[in-house]
Symmetry: C2
Subunit: 322 residues, 2 copies
């Protein structure tokens, strides 16, 4: 069996990091970063637990992708540019085949975003993956949750609900053709962090976050922090390509409450619509206007006829839902 | 049961962080730090797993202390000054009594070192605690593992082996009077990170690391990275107050190979002995000279008569040892 040190060296050491900000990578008590002068650092941690955030038999390459993607998505939601990350990994065993696949998926996405693995920890234990990620952005440009203003448009990137639809099929809540299920499942297993869009929205958008637990619940955090309410046009929510083929009720439920989308939800002044669309074009990302911020608290859901729909909505919460 | 958000707010939100470097703390997609101009950032992650790094029924207040202490110790080993940390926590249940104690122990040590909790994650799952810590230091002053030079003195802070002795008593490898066991166990459960010493050693010491897995194994990392060897005077190793009362063989084994000490082991030029002692006085920390760095590779162990002792020594390794 591989020792801890061999394991790190063999699978995770990225040789020749070409980045003057990384003064020291894996292998000492700490990594050393040289922050870019005048830049603020954005930091986020996510912990993914087997059986809760992913299936115990999840394909390790996609799992490696997803673990980093959810962290990159947090940087995107602040408008930060990725620099580096640490990886702490608890594994039941040092399985070389699993590690080769996991690290390949992780490092491919890291390379794509020039985000360097600079340190971490490995230990024996129940499968648990904790990544802490570092990005940078000019001070004062972060897209914060508390910055929504009454009258703002609400926007969302990409499409919603295909990940939740794939999960529903795994759980036999819905029946999907295997090929169709696989298409939706790719969305669940390999989300695309919206880094380029987040950076392009600096100075244009007001509030932003990434949708991990479902649009309604996550938007609720913006509303709470900003002391505002919102009206969403439920039939304007952009359903994913697979979800589009499903009945209206499922479309509404899964675009509104489906988790694992990792799209950005953001608000911006009506006068900035052209700039938002230009940022979307520049970052090669579709964006859709889905409602507006109100001064009255609460979340209202209107259909295309303007009828208020009192659908149940609640954020996914690890300690409330079983 | 508390929701995830209530839980974070109630137990972990440190109100009124008074530090201009912390631009944004808990509650958004990312925390925001303003690095001090011209300073390098030191970053380390440690993951502690129930049943492996601590007993499943560990007293939560001491566990909170220990989780942060092992991370602070990594900063100390680089000579970095603490700034902030993130906490990712997987819990089987949101037990208010456990959380109140855990957070009290964690935040008391955080306050002592003015190290701010700025973000993290909580989820349901097997008990797992992952902290990522951030410190700062002037560029070029980090105490790296690859900086030992032939002829250097080898030093160690504080004392060694009491944590391992406590563990031996838990495992019934040795028999200790309950009060004596408790004294040794405090050393195991509430280590003192040597932050002040680490900072005082900047520019004076060459290589350094913290001893988590045992002196011999950890010193081996310095030897490997620096391309040197060492001779240790095994009977000069400073045994902890409880271990001092034990037979010689146990003293030798546990000072040399005992884990969980979280003392600093460092090397420095012979010409810097007075400066090392001054740094120790300044940081109110005992240091002991225990050997020297050799150009010949390998680790030699001499007793006080100069006899070479071929004791078995090996670094604790999570994937080699069962």
């Amino acid at each position: 069996m591989l020792s801890e040190f061999d394991l790190i060296k063999r699978y995770f050491a990225q040789h020749h990091i070409q980045d003057s900000r990384v003064a020291l990578g894996i292998g000492d008590d700490c990594a050393l970063l040289n922050p870019s002068p005048g830049m603020q650092m954005a930091i986020s941690s996510d912990m993914l637990v087997s059986g809760r955030h992913f299936f115990p038999d999840a394909a390790p390459r996609m799992l490696g992708h997803k673990c980093l993607a959810v962290n990159l998505s947090d940087l995107a939601a602040m408008g930060a540019k990725p620099i580096a990350f640490t990886l702490a990994l608890s594994l039941p065993e040092a399985n070389p085949a699993w590690l080769a696949e996991f690290s390949a998926g992780l490092l491919a996405l890291a390379d794509e975003h020039q985000c360097h693995l600079i340190g971490g920890d490995t230990t024996k234990g129940p499968l648990n993956i904790c990544i802490t990620i570092f990005g940078e952005l000019p001070p004062g440009t972060a897209l914060r949750r508390d910055a929504a203003r009454s009258g703002d448009d609400i926007w969302v990137s990409g499409s919603l609900g295909d990940a939740r639809l794939a999960l529903a099929a795994y759980w036999n809540e819905v029946s999907l053709d295997p090929q169709v299920h696989q298409q939706a499942a790719l969305r669940m297993h390999t989300p695309s962090p919206r880094i380029a869009l987040g950076m392009a929205l600096r100075g244009i958008a007001h509030a932003a976050l990434d949708i991990s637990d479902g649009l309604a619940g996550d938007l609720g955090h913006i509303l709470d922090k900003s002391g505002v309410g919102a009206t969403l046009l439920i039939d304007q929510l952009p359903a994913g390509p697979v979800l589009q083929t499903q009945p209206q009720d499922l479309r509404r439920q899964f675009t509104l409450n489906g988790g694992d989308d990792y799209e950005l939800c953001f608000t911006a002044a009506v006068s900035n619509r052209q700039q938002i669309l230009a940022a979307a074009t520049q970052s090669n990302t579709v964006v859709t206007r889905i409602g507006q911020i109100d001064s009255a608290s609460g979340l209202r859901l209107l259909d295309d006829e303007g009828k208020d729909l009192h659908l149940a909505y609640q954020s996914f919460d690890h300690f409330v839902n079983p």
